[in-house]
Point group: C3
Chain length 397, copies 3
């Protein structure tokens, strides 16, 4: 029980909940809230590893809404709510009477009469996903305030157009585990979030935005690297810079992958579409202009192809600190010679890191469970202490 | 606990279960059975509002079969069975080996070996939905009687071509809450179920039929209003008239919305397709005659358009008793200027009633839970008394 | 409790688990493992019949992956995991980011961080289903061994291209119930697995293969009957012959349905596609050659039609021992005059056996539950004894 006790003691200082709000973007939350989330997630993961139950709810419903494909996050959410003792019901919009816009608030209430948590992925249209989630949360608040809902469900952002907090916080847990430290131990470490080549187009910006928006809070030297033109949402680049300065770290943008890898402790090479492409694409999708969409895709893929050298491989890794930087990816990666001809990462490089990327992913269910616990309870620390004290096995015999 | 105790005491007189049958149409049930359902639903809702658990089952499966789109009812069923302690499995017919007709009885048994409740929505084809549910229930009974099934699952009608009992009973709960009375307090009150204009076609008849088939039992003055030709199933209009007379109330059909609203305590303006259209549509769908279907839709929409003045708006509401009748809708409503150009209800009028229509909807999960409890237990009153006495919180800490 | 005690006592001799492996093919398992599975399944079924709970897990997730349509098996799996206390999450590959091939191992781990059991149906492509499941299981083992997964989920074969063990073991349970014996009582009984005519094409080989691969282990006289050319996978025909000889029974292949039925105690008439057709079909599907696929289907259906006399009817049944052989089918059957013009079985013959085929199917949830219990626990006998001793009702009041 050593590790568990250590995790439990880590809760004792400055542990705070979300006081009935939601974590839609990490940059809307306080340092204490984020660090509490990470500590709760690591505790719950250890609890599970020991074969113990994390049931906090005796009964209740969780709902997920996926407006885009998902495996990892879908099962992370299902796992998290199951661990907490909630049943899951998925809202399939094709089987529903749902229209966009005005009825968001109606839908939000209709699925929430007995619901404790709602996970939403909405990352396809730039400018929409976060807005949808915020509207959704407001509608729940209105119905709760009016007494229509006896409980206020927690909204969990399972990836928006702006942030992917369950991913970024899992990444943070993984980095802390890797360096065996808490967030104060990250000071001065070098992290590189780099664009990488992929033969696909239209990948969301939320992962790189989530990574720079979170890791710049801890006094790290964060480098964002991409070919000219592959910018993220400027506001998020700017707030990352601001956070870096505030926290005593640094933030820079470079346009050379090799330069960005030099001396890095952590590298995160991943493809995304330039912001202007996502904007144009959203516009064309709304207009239903299929031929313009095809043209956009073609020109985008062509432009991508001029950057096939942005591949994470052994030569690139050799540039990192002692040649042994931690390789990170949210998965699935586009692996050269495996899932595509030329991709984000060389097969040899990925294979070395493969099980480690699975470990990175393994935090997500516990991050989600922690987010729900911190949002739904006034005194989450007491709840976590009691579940640990209970030491209830996951099997009944 | 005051309100809860009051609800509990309300059970004491004339409380009866369904004795192992199903509630497929309210008019097949006794007054005591319906009033017991309503009282159990209100009790369960209060239980939930107090943060208490309604788990009656320790384990077991519930199955839902949706042969039409659904949000509200889908989540109401999921919420209800979760509250009772059952796991939900949805039967998606596209992913199954199901054919129509002869194999209904086989399917019914195959999904029921460990199943406690089955919710079915089948409302598209006039003449089919209710028949399907009845066949389904008969097959379950046959397998139970033969010892193939060790328990006889309850069939819950989640909307058929004839009745929509979970909606009508939720509506009843809402009306009782609104007037703060039990069913005896409805005597003499005026309720108007009115057709309203919508730019869509083919809406089922089950909501208006369910409303007149239920509310005419309580000595109310019920008015059914529609443009000439928009009749419901004549048999159900007739039984409503008969019930009204029996219960000391009245039932009339008028063809003028304004006249129907005059002096009403409750108005329920909602679109539906004329019965003959639903019959014709069923016939053409069976024949796969797409061009005739398009023609039918066109002529139907044109006919509808001659009745755009059947809109519930401030001027119409002013006709009701003190201008303050309770506005009801099963949702989603077609709202003028919001979800369509011209619809069932003016935006201003709907907005005033909006949160109240959410309250109306909020009863459905508890009505479904009550129906299952009353159908599956020999002595449901004892069960409800014990769950209340237990006062088990919904969270474990 | 008489029957339950009898089932409990049956566990006492030679009861063994799977020691953390999976039951993908019955012929990979020992006699003791199979017989333990059957005894556990019969015990769990009796437990359920008595209204008692089979909850072994307090919390946990089960996942199902259906790469082909399914009703019976889908609900059997849902029922089984619910009985054991697990929540179910279905992996819908169309809603996922899953590609074939190299990423099987990634997917396997990504859905398993808190998962106890994974059911897979993959029966369409000859040469693929079993391979996929084996790769999946290997990937889970790798991640478990590396500490990425804190528990090693059990893989349940819900039908592959080679075996359908949950079906074959349910069939075995049913036969044992029918003759009221244990497997030693099967010695010398005659079982006929026969091809039967169906107006469809491309039915998998896994049911007949599963039946001959299992029943030849018990000293029975097993006859496999099919028209010339409708062979199963030769390796499985051969291992069946070998097992029959080893167990003191016999195995023969005949090409005449009537001859095969003569003197049989059990008949299992069912359609399947010849192996060479399944091979050709797999090849054409991979090549995306639609016109060749249509041609193959046509020629196959034509060939089938020359065997319409392979129908199980009263005249055929009269050939069996005392004319009263047990008729078996995995369902749904193609019934002459009911689900098709000419099919596998005459309406009169099927109707006599109908409820009995439902009984045959009723074992499947309990076989699956038994498989998970035997794979996931070191001492499954103790677990089963304790769940029986607990006598916990399925309802809480």
């Amino acid at each position: 029980m050593d590790v568990l006790t250590r995790h439990l003691e880590a809760l004792s200082s400055d542990f705070v909940g979300y006081t009935n709000s939601d974590l839609l973007q990490t940059w809307d939350m306080s340092d204490a809230q984020l660090s509490s989330t990470v500590r709760a997630a690591r505790l719950l993961k250890e609890l599970h590893r020991l074969g113990l139950s994390g049931k906090i709810f005796d009964t209740g419903l969780a709902v997920s809404i996926f407006r885009d494909h998902s495996t990892r996050t879908r099962f992370s959410f299902a796992s998290a709510v199951t661990m907490l003792g909630l049943a899951l019901s998925e809202l399939d919009e094709e089987k529903s009477q749902i229209a966009h816009g005005e009825t968001v608030r109606e839908t939000a209430t209709m699925i929430s009469f007995l619901t404790e948590a709602i996970g939403i992925r909405d990352d396809i249209f730039l400018g929409e996903g976060h807005t949808y989630m915020a509207e959704f949360a407001d509608a729940l608040q209105e119905s709760f305030d009016a007494g229509v809902l006896p409980q206020r469900p927690t909204v969990v952002n399972l990836q928006s157009d702006r942030d992917h907090p369950t991913q970024a916080l899992s990444d943070l847990c993984h980095v802390l585990d890797h360096f065996d430290c808490d967030v104060s131990g990250l000071r001065g470490k070098k992290l590189t979030m780099s664009w990488a080549y992929s033969p696909s187009y239209g990948k969301p910006l939320s992962v790189p935005q989530g990574v720079i928006g979170l890791f710049t809070r801890y006094g790290m030297d964060v480098t964002l690297a991409y070919p000219e033109g592959y910018t993220l949402i400027p506001e998020i680049e700017k707030l990352s810079e601001h956070q870096a300065v505030q926290s005593g770290g640094s933030f820079r943008i470079v346009h050379d992958m090799r330069e960005a890898f030099r001396g890095a402790d952590v590298v995160y090479p991943k493809s995304w579409a330039p912001m202007w492409v996502m904007e144009k694409r959203t516009e064309l999708l709304r207009a239903g202009d299929k031929s313009a969409l095809r043209e956009l895709e073609q020109s985008c893929l062509e432009e991508n192809r001029t950057h096939v050298d942005w591949e994470c491989n052994e030569s690139m890794m050799a540039e990192t600190r002692d040649g042994t930087a931690l390789y990170m990816h949210c998965l699935p990666a586009d692996i050269t010679g495996v899932s595509c001809q030329r991709g984000e990462v060389a097969a040899e490089t990925f294979e070395k890191a493969r099980l480690d990327t699975y470990r990175e992913a393994s935090f997500k269910p516990f991050v989600i469970a922690a987010m729900i616990a911190l949002a739904r309870f006034d005194d989450p620390q007491r709840i976590l202490e009691r579940i640990v004290a209970e030491k209830r096995p996951r099997t009944r015999f």
